[in-house]
């Protein structure tokens, strides 16, 4: 690990100022990803700006939805009554992630900002364009079992590993961020990005910007939701593929639906085409299957992850079936 200094800030302004002042400084939230990255020499901040004392951990109801503070712990969000009532999908997705110990430390902002779990990224003896632009992509032609089937580039085929973000993408959340130039809002779907030629950039947050909160608008989708995570063991493993599904069903017909996948792309993969196709149709397995197939049009195997071309549509179908069977 590199040597670094540590400072604890107590206001948004001082947090933002601390990063503006020092190009090597980084925010420290739960530390569950950042500290690991520092230990393996992937990220070498010379200054850690601890934001845990900022008053950003609340979960409150607004006129249009829920506002979840960036420092709310994953456990707190997953177990919050308002979240469970309005957005059960978010609670389910969070609980499918990591372990209780990690969720007790991990924050909403940190979860969004967590980096890929691609092993080549973590091993400084291996090539990786995300860690070291221009060094090549170790995963292409290598161990690509966990990697992307959507939106990959010839520079990077990594996936974003978060479960929570799959739910937030499905729920049309908005990210509130603050920076030296003030506050701005980023629709969740625009927060993370595809790797393209600059895989070193995971998302569209600008250097020095602080995530303040996430807004989730109310919807009519809480009765029929399911987050299905397929993984190599029953708990405490990253998704091979996960699917978040939320539906409103009236008289057997789907009146509204949200669908997103995890473990398949550099960002949570929202399936808008499938959603549009399903809307107004009966909630039958046959329709779910068709929607799933529709979702796979752009999917591409990297070799080691060819099974995801089968697993992803099957996971969509299972998630929709289970969601439809609720209540």
């Amino acid at each position: 690990m590199n040597q670094f200094s540590y400072v604890r800030v107590t206001s948004k302004e001082s947090a933002i100022a601390a990063l503006a002042k020092d190009k090597t400084a980084m925010f420290l939230a739960g530390g569950t990803n950042l500290v690991d990255l520092m230990k393996s020499g992937v990220t070498n901040p010379e200054r850690l700006v601890d934001i845990n004392k900022l008053p950003l951990a609340t979960i409150e109801e607004t006129k249009t939805g829920l506002r979840i503070g960036a420092l709310a712990k994953n456990t707190a969000v997953a177990e919050n009554d308002l979240v469970i009532k309005h957005f059960p999908l978010l609670s389910q997705a969070l609980k499918a992630g990591a372990s209780p110990q990690l969720r007790n430390m991990a924050t909403v902002g940190g979860n969004m900002m967590q980096r890929t779990r691609c092993h080549y990224f973590y091993d400084t003896a291996m090539p990786c364009n995300k860690r070291n632009p221009g060094s090549g992509c170790g995963a292409i032609g290598g161990f690509s079992r966990m990697h992307a089937i959507f939106g990959a580039s010839d520079k990077c085929i990594a996936v974003h590993p978060s479960d929570m973000c799959v739910a937030l993408a499905a729920l049309d959340a908005t990210v509130i961020v603050a920076g030296p130039k003030g506050e701005r809002k980023i629709p969740f779907g625009d927060f993370h990005r595809l790797p393209g030629d600059t895989p070193q950039q995971d998302n569209n947050l600008q250097r020095g910007e602080l995530i303040i909160a996430v807004d989730i608008p109310f919807n009519q989708l809480s009765a029929n939701t399911h987050y299905l995570k397929v993984r190599d063991r029953a708990s405490y493993a990253f998704a091979l593929v996960s699917a978040g599904a939320a539906m409103q069903i009236k008289g057997g017909n789907i009146t509204d639906v949200r669908l997103a996948l995890g473990g398949v792309a550099h960002k949570p993969w929202r399936l808008k085409e499938a959603e549009a196709w399903l809307k107004g149709k009966p909630a039958t397995e046959e329709n779910f299957r068709k929607a799933a197939e529709l979702s796979m049009a752009q999917a591409k195997s990297q070799g080691g992850n060819a099974f995801k071309l089968t697993l992803a549509p099957n996971t969509i179908v299972e998630a929709l079936k289970t969601a439809a069977a609720q209540a």
Binding site: M1, F143, V230
Partner: protein, 722 residues
């Protein structure tokens, strides 16, 4: 002779110490002035270190020394260099930091020693190296042509028709793969070493054998064994990786000698993948022949496993096939392929776990081919006597075990047709397998000390890597002497105690337990001579005597009686074939859409003689099955052969089973004493708990889906693609 009653289930005698943190593991010992060692490891797989820059690291705060091949203190026992012609590879010996040669990825290239762990870690990050890379081979599949007969294990063949497996009316030919598995005990490996002068070494170690660690260190430094103190009272799991004292541990002792300071090394999880062994990647071919009515006529079993370029690691992957079934023609071969990898080592159920996956899967496949129930097929080919050695088994209660297990799981009630049973969306499957392991007994010595207050202290230089050795030993002493449990203490993990073997091969209860039995029996004799006797849980004057234990001891001017006994098997060991057996039944659920496999229920039956300590024995079975679930479904060390490096060397990506993967495991013990193994009538237990279990799961997956998966672990992608 012998103990003839059933044992009471006893709580672990050291359970409280363990859960309250009072039990101290090697890294927890505080030694004044201790310094910390961090290893820098090779980023390439084969070649040489061209340059290594340690200047910045040496100048970093708190750094005491950086040792590389350029300045590593000589280790006298390592002086011998050069080719070792015995190896199939003719490869060079591995001498850590002895030269600039790199023989495997992750090999240490520098030891950084500093006054705090953090400073050592930081300084280690400042060491830079350049390499001359050479082409490397880490992929067994691409190097099969290098397969060679290991010097230590010949081929086996019996029967007059070597080709029976090829010419039988019903034939099966199949290949099975067991990947690299890494022991991954919770406790990280390492050592804490310090010297008094230049010939007295003390270490706190993580080892499965304090005596073997003592021998290794004594011979490395060419000092008297008595001058090497080894302490290892508590070990946080070993599974085989602690059966060797590893080069880096010896090197730390050398650094401590040079610096004249205590040095502590705790390896990283990543280093646990490359520097303390692993279960070798093994491919197996089985060709099996049977008659239409299910009589085996021939088996050919060939296993090819990886080893290091510098060592001929060999294990008994084909041993079970030689004797398990009454098949007239059997041929087995074991081959090793030297690769640019660190050396493997025994891992729980060594060899047999690998072989049993293949054999017990093949048996299941053949049973389906001849249209028989896999259980009936096994019974039909049951070996009443050992067909390999032509000797009777010392005990073999497999038939009873088959019956008990199958009744408990409801074997007969299942629909045996593949892909015929469902539970909602999920496919349901039942599978079974057999496991075996030699019931070994080694020589062991135990000292007993009976104190004035009537407490009994027993000492032996054995280890406890978790099974509850002390508990079992206290139980044996209790059964021989009748003294209450709380008056008996068993001490282990100290090389200064009377010698015993390492804790491996499921032999500890049999070996050390016999010594405990014998020493307690000898103590009884001493008491008789002294006019005393064990009576109803206390030492009392013998009939017609009046002097108490205290009286007798004080008259003899003593504070205790002591006796030391060495114990080993007699000629019965050669007359019988001695094995422990297990039967595993698994019920699984397989999701047809996602390929997810869940083990729903397990019944495991052990025929391991008389059960000395029922509670810890049950824990052993549960732990073994849990390891078996890992082997079957989740565990695989993945190497990117382009680089020769692991790509999942941490506990997030190398999947050991978590609680949610482990269902209720029902353990059944036959609990019948074996008349010949040892005075307790016990047979080993640690290995059979795991051996064969992976086949039970694979067979259950076949029953559930009709898909035969011959490559472990059975992950969702394999189920979907099969």
């Amino acid at each position: 002779m012998g103990i003839d009653k059933k044992s009471e289930p006893l709580n672990r005698v050291d359970g409280r110490a363990k859960v309250t943190g009072k039990a101290k593991y090697f890294a927890e010992f505080e030694v004044p002035g201790v310094t910390f060692c961090v290893m820098v490891t090779s980023a390439i797989t084969r070649g040489t270190v061209a340059t290594i820059n340690t200047k910045t690291a040496e100048r970093a705060p708190g750094v005491l020394a950086v040792f590389t091949h350029l300045n590593m203190p000589a280790i006298p026992g390592w002086a011998e260099q050069g080719n070792n012609s015995k190896l199939p590879s003719g490869g060079e010996k591995y001498r850590m930091l002895g030269s600039n040669k790199i023989l495997f990825n992750g090999q240490p290239i520098a030891l950084v020693i500093a006054d705090t762990l953090e400073r050592a870690q930081h300084a280690a990050s400042l060491v830079t190296a350049t390499y001359n890379k050479a082409a490397h081979n880490t992929d067994l599949l691409k190097n099969k042509e290098k397969a060679a007969m290991p010097p230590r294990l010949g081929d086996y063949s019996r029967g007059t028709d070597k080709d029976a497996h090829n010419t039988a009316p019903v034939k099966l030919k199949a290949d099975y793969t067991v990947p690299v598995e890494v022991h991954n005990p919770m406790e990280l490996a390492g050592i804490l070493a310090f010297w008094e002068g230049d010939d007295k070494l003390t270490v706190y170690a993580k080892t499965q054998g304090v005596k073997s660690t003592q021998r290794t260190l004594a011979s490395a430094f060419k000092i008297d064994e008595k001058n090497v103190q080894v302490h290892s009272e508590f070990v946080g799991g070993g599974f085989g990786m602690g059966l060797r004292t590893w080069p880096q541990e010896v090197a730390v002792a050398a650094a401590a000698l040079k610096l004249k300071k205590p040095v502590k090394l705790v390896m990283t999880r990543e280093q646990m993948f490359t520097l303390v062994g692993y279960r070798p990647y093994t491919i197996q071919h089985i060709s099996m022949g049977a008659t239409q009515d299910g009589q085996l006529t021939g088996i050919y079993h060939e296993a090819t496993a990886e080893t290091a370029s510098y060592d001929d690691f060999t294990e008994g992957a084909v041993s079970m096939t030689r004797f398990m079934y009454a098949c007239p023609n059997v041929t087995t071969k074991y081959r090793i392929v030297p690769l640019d990898r660190g050396v493997p080592i025994w891992m729980r159920g060594p060899g047999e776990a690998t072989g049993a996956f293949a054999l017990e899967s093949a048996i299941d496949e053949m049973a389906y081919k001849v249209n028989m129930d896999p259980l009936q097929f096994r019974l039909k080919n049951f070996a009443e006597t050992d067909p390999e050695r032509n000797k009777p088994f010392s005990s073999n209660n497999l038939k009873e075990a088959y019956q008990l297990g199958s009744e408990k799981i409801g074997w007969a009630k299942r629909n045996p047709a593949p892909a015929s049973m469902k539970d909602g969306e999920w496919l349901v499957g039942y599978g079974m397998s057999t496991g075996v392991f030699g019931a070994h007994r080694g020589e062991s010595t135990c000292r007993a000390q009976l104190n004035t207050d009537g407490t009994l202290v027993l000492q032996s230089a054995t280890s406890d890597i978790g099974p509850g050795t002390s508990t079992a030993m206290v139980q044996i002493a209790h059964e021989v002497t009748g003294l209450p449990i709380e008056k008996i203490r068993f001490e282990l993990g100290n090389a200064a105690f009377p010698p015993s073997g390492s804790q491996g091969g499921s032999a500890t209860v049999s070996s050390v337990g016999s010594a405990v039995y014998d020493v307690c029996t000898a103590l009884k004799g001493i008491l008789t001579e002294a006019g005393l006797t064990f009576d109803n849980g206390a030492v009392k004057p013998a009939a017609g005597k009046s002097d108490s234990l205290q009286d007798v001891l004080s008259k003899q001017n003593k504070t205790f009686f002591e006796v030391t006994k060495s114990s080993k098997g007699g000629e019965e060991q050669g007359k019988y074939s001695m094995y422990s057996f297990s039967i595993h039944f698994a019920e699984v659920r397989v999701h047809p859409g996602t390929g997810v496999v869940r083990v729903k229920r397990v019944v495991t039956v052990a025929d391991s003689g008389r059960i000395v300590s029922p509670k810890t024995a049950a824990s052993q079975m549960i732990g073994g099955v849990t390891g078996g679930i890992g082997m079957a479904l989740t565990e695989e060390g993945v190497i990117d052969h382009r680089f020769g490096r692991f790509v999942n060397n941490n506990l997030a990506d190398y999947h050991v089973p978590v609680s949610a993967d482990v269902p209720h495991i029902e353990t059944i013990f036959i609990d019948k004493p074996d008349p010949y193994t040892n005075p307790m009538g016990s047979k080993g237990m640690g290995e059979i708990a795991l051996i064969g279990f992976s086949a039970a799961v694979a067979n259950a997956v076949y029953h559930a889906t009709g898909k035969r998966i011959r490559e472990l672990p059975i992950t969702p992608d394999k189920v979907l693609s099969a």
